[in-house]
Structure formats: structure tokens, C-alpha cells
Amino acid sequence: MSSSPAPPLVEAASLTRNFDTGRGTLFGPKRYVRAVAGVDLAIAAGETLGLVGESGSGKSTIGRLLLCALPASSGQVRFDGEDVSHVGPARWRALRREMQLIQQNPGTALDPRMAIGDQLAEVLDIHDLEKPRDRRAAAMHMLHRVGLAADVMQRFPHQLSGGQQQRIAIARALLVRPRFVVCDEPVSSLDLSVQAQVLNLLQDLQAELGLTYLFISHDLNVIRYMSDRIAVLYLGRIVEIGRREQVLGRPLHPYTRALLGATPIPEPTAPPPTPQISGEPPDPASPPAGCHFHTRCPLATKICRTVEPALRENGGRGHQVSCHHDAGDNNLVGACA
């Protein structure tokens, strides 16, 4: 982005991913779901891009595409200037060390039959980092760094709480000293008191190790706390992107405003959440024509039903929105800011 001071570490251009859903009948046409549809984004080194959207909006798919853990149907991913969309196995393996994933459910992300110490040492073994005899010490050091005691090394995942498991997943991801980490709903399965521990830890580690995050969440309050910039996703497309204060302070897309208006605010004096949009997200397998949001949009007019709006600069300094009615002087803007 032009507004970002540092050059982008991760870039996506026209990134698209389709998932086959099989033929309806034996000789019927092939059908697919377009989970990600032409996404462009750039994440500067050291920054956190928050990705927010409802279920089925393609958040996790984007995360996996950027990690090259999932091949794109079309489009390009660049990491540190290099096109990594079609790299061979050797380079891919090297890239794994640079880019890591922290998943939503640490219980399934960890190997249930392996002691924690062994799982952590194995990661170093795979990437041939540290001398073999130093690996357990390095693992132990990282465990301390994420706030766990040494006795965890001998334990198995089922003996640990959800918060401890997530710390281990974080330790395992960071052990190989990645530069880019995709945090995919890392606190969604955790209780509030533990959620705060993990969010703080992720921020500390980012500052300490100079990490770049893609932070995926459905919770706007968590996104607000963690992100420098925010991208709002609807049915596989970015509908709005910009710096946190732009997107949340002066939202331009009606969907962003609806998300903000629907998120319950933990203040008794705040206005109650208002359902500004009716209905539920459409089936991604058969998205509406034109603007995907027009079926639920209070501002939709004829053009929205036929012409898909492009993501373009509005409001200045990297604030982009894809809406035919984003004039900016919209009466809803002030109400939700």
C-alpha cells in the first residue's frame, strides 16, 4: 500500500481460489464455490493486518493461500518480493520456515500422541535448525518465553488446558523464527480471561521478534485491539480495507457499518446493537450477481444488482472500499462512527 512506510512483506494479486463441489448429476456441469474472488492485498513488514468477516467469507482460505499451504486457482502471492505461487518442493520447504500458522483449535493442531517437548524438538529437526543436542534446550527456552514451565515438556496435549495448548501452538510456530505468521482465530476457542493472556503474548512476541501478522477473527473487538490495518471480507471479496481508525472510525461500506452496528458493545450506556441488515449471508456457491452484498444492503439500487463495484481509494491514504454508494457524505456514516 502506498500509505505503508515499510515495503510489503506479503502481497497478493488477484488471488482466487475455487473449491470443487462435484457435479450435481453424473454428466452435469462441474460446480464450484469461489471461496476467494480476486483479492489484492499487501502486508507491510512488522504490521498486523486484521481480516474480519462472517463464516464462509473466505478468511481462512486467504490465510492458507498466503502461506502457500493451499494452491491458488489463479492470481499470485509474493513473499518478500518473490513470486511464491508456483515454487518447487525445496523452496516451498524453506518458505515454511519463514511463514507459520497458528490455528483456532490448538487441541487438534497438536499431535495427541507425542509429548510436548518432542513435538517442539521435531520442528527444529525438520527444518534442520540448531544442533541435535541443543534442540530440547531451544524448545524449553521458547516454552518459557510463552509463559509455560519446564514440566510441560513431558506432558501430552490432553493434559493441558486450552490456553496452555494455544501457547504451545504459538511456541511451535515461532520456534523456527518465522517472519510472517497467520493467526487464524487464535483466541476464538478460549475463555475471556485466557483470551487476554494470548492476545498480550502475541503482541509481545510481535514487538520482540519483529513479526508480521495476518490476524483473522470474526470478532470486531479483538480485531480492533490487534490490528494496524483492517480488511473486511464478504463472500470472498475485500469490501473495505484501510487503517484501523479509518475502517472502524469512518466506515464507508454498508457491510462494515452493519458489522459495527451489530457487534454488542460491553458498555451498558452504549446504544443497543441494531440489526441494520436483514437475512443471512447468501450461499457462497451461488453468490448474487453484481455487488454480492446487494441482497442485504439497505442502500442497494439498480446498479448494485448488475454491476460489481471495484475496490477503489476513497477517503484518502490507503482507505479503499468497493461500493457504488460510498460517496462519504452518507447519512449512515456519522451514526456508526
Binding site: S193, P266, P268, P272, S278
Partner: protein, 336 residues
Amino acid sequence: MTSGGSKTTVATDVLLDVRDLSVSLPTEHGPALGVDQVSFKLQAGATMALVGESGSGKTMTCLAMMGLLPPRASALGTVRFDGVDLLALPESRLERIRESEIAMAFQDASNALNPVLTIGFQVAESLARHRGMTRTAAFAEVRRLLDLVQMPAAAHRLHQYPHELSGGMCQRAMIAMAIACRPRILIADEPTTALDVTVQAQILALLKDIQRDFGMALILVTHDFGVVAQMAETAAVMYAGRIVERATVRELFDRPQHPYTQALLAALPYRMPEGGRLASIPGAVPPITSRPSGCAFRSRCAKADSRCAAERPVPTPKSATQSVACHQASDAKAAA
């Protein structure tokens, strides 16, 4: 709001009076208390939130009140509804009270509905059983109820099965079923947890509308302080099977007294000023089989001392509407 009245009006208004409700659950290490001496009152037409983290006993408290505990679990204490102790009632009478007087909408509606019966049949069932309606009358009423809960294409949904509906529509069907007999209390157990935020806002607004139109009391079980702040008048905070603090929602957010409540509120990302750091509570909720002696929160509490280990704190009134179970609560004010 409703709880601000004088002693006498409060006494006449009380619809549900829960006293020392405990639930013993079977575990590998013998029976353990999943709910531990919980007491609260609910006024007619009021909204109370039961808030806490997972495993704090919120759902178990509700199931015990409804007489729906799992096998081998048992409840102690009294649950007076309109002066009658529900725990002492035979199942046949309790069944009449369930649905027609106190109804419950369960978490994750798509799993709570019967997968092999149509939506129409499931909602009609309670109308036929409790209101003695004929098939035709019941289905006409179901149609009306589905419209009331703003079910899209309601006439069509009558004949559909739960798997054909989205999560939000299943939750609407569940609410229609719960309010079919116009209960005086609706217990909604995490009614929006499985839903997207835009749909959540619709369901919460719907619950509020129905509550107002029916004059129904609402017990809202949730872990989300945003939902508490927006929906409830009073709240009870649960930790490890106990209610640690009860207050009006304004008091709870403005002057939390229990260290646990204070810590939870300080852990909310929304309330954090720019560049601030979230407070976090060390450790995790202790499992049901190894709860600390004395105060259950003491193992994670910065203020705990020897008294907290030796003596269980009892709920102590701090105002007409606020009570807290903490030995340190008088000093806790300064920290709030």
C-alpha cells in the same frame, strides 16, 4: 430497573426464587458439585444475565431449575416458581410447568432440534400437549409463531427439516417453540453463540421484542459481556459453580466488586484505551474435581490471603441490588 423498588414491592414481584441450589455431578473421582449453593431471584418481566466462562455452571444451573439434569446428577436446595418448589414436584407436574410456564431455548439450535421431525411438527407438539389444540389449529398457530419470530418464508419452513435451515433459522424455530405456550420465563442458553454477528443482532432484537410483547422474564446465559450490557438489567457472575457477584448491569460495569468480575472486565479488548494492555487472569478455571478450599477463585486471585483459603466467602450485600462473595471486597473498591 425492576430491582430498584422497595423491599415490599420486590417481594411481591418475585417470580422465581432460587435458594442454595447445588448440583452434584458424577465424575471419575466421585460426585462433585457443578453448581454450588447458587441463590438468586428473578422478577416478573425482568432480564437477568447469568454470565461466566465455560465450566462455571451456568447451563447446569438452568437445567437443574428445569428438572432436566443428566442421569445420576442430583439437585439440592429450592427453586420456587410462583411459590411452588419445582425441585419437590413430581415429574408429571414439572412437565406441565416446563414449556407452559418456564421454557428453555438451548445453545446450538441446529443440534437441539429433532432432526427427523419437521419444524412445524416440533413447534406444534407443545401446542397440542399443553394447550390441547387440534392439528389444524396447532399448525395455524405455528404459522403465526414463525411469522412472529420473523422466519423467512415461514409457510415453506413448516414442512422443512432442521438440516434444511441455516443456524439463524434454527434458532428462530427454537425460540418459536419455546414461546409457543406463552411462558412466563424464558431461559435462553447462549442463544447466539453459534451465529454470525449480524444474525446475532437480529436474534437479540427479536428476544427483546418478544419479551416486551409477552411481558416475559428472561434468563440469558452468556459468556459475552457485550450481550450482557445490551440485553440485561441484572447479572449474576458465576465462577467454578458459584455466583461470586450479583448486581444491576450498571453497577457491575461501573463498580465491579469481586476481583474476578474486575479482572474479566479489564480483559475486554473493547474497553482498552489506545495502546493499553489487557489485564489477564493467571492460570485457568480449576476443573470440577479439584476446586480450591475456601474461595474457589483464590488460586488465581492477586488479593487472596490465608482467610480466603480457610473460609468460604458468603454473598454479602453491598447495596440494595449488589452483593458479592469475597473476603477482600471492601478493599477491592480502590482497584475498580
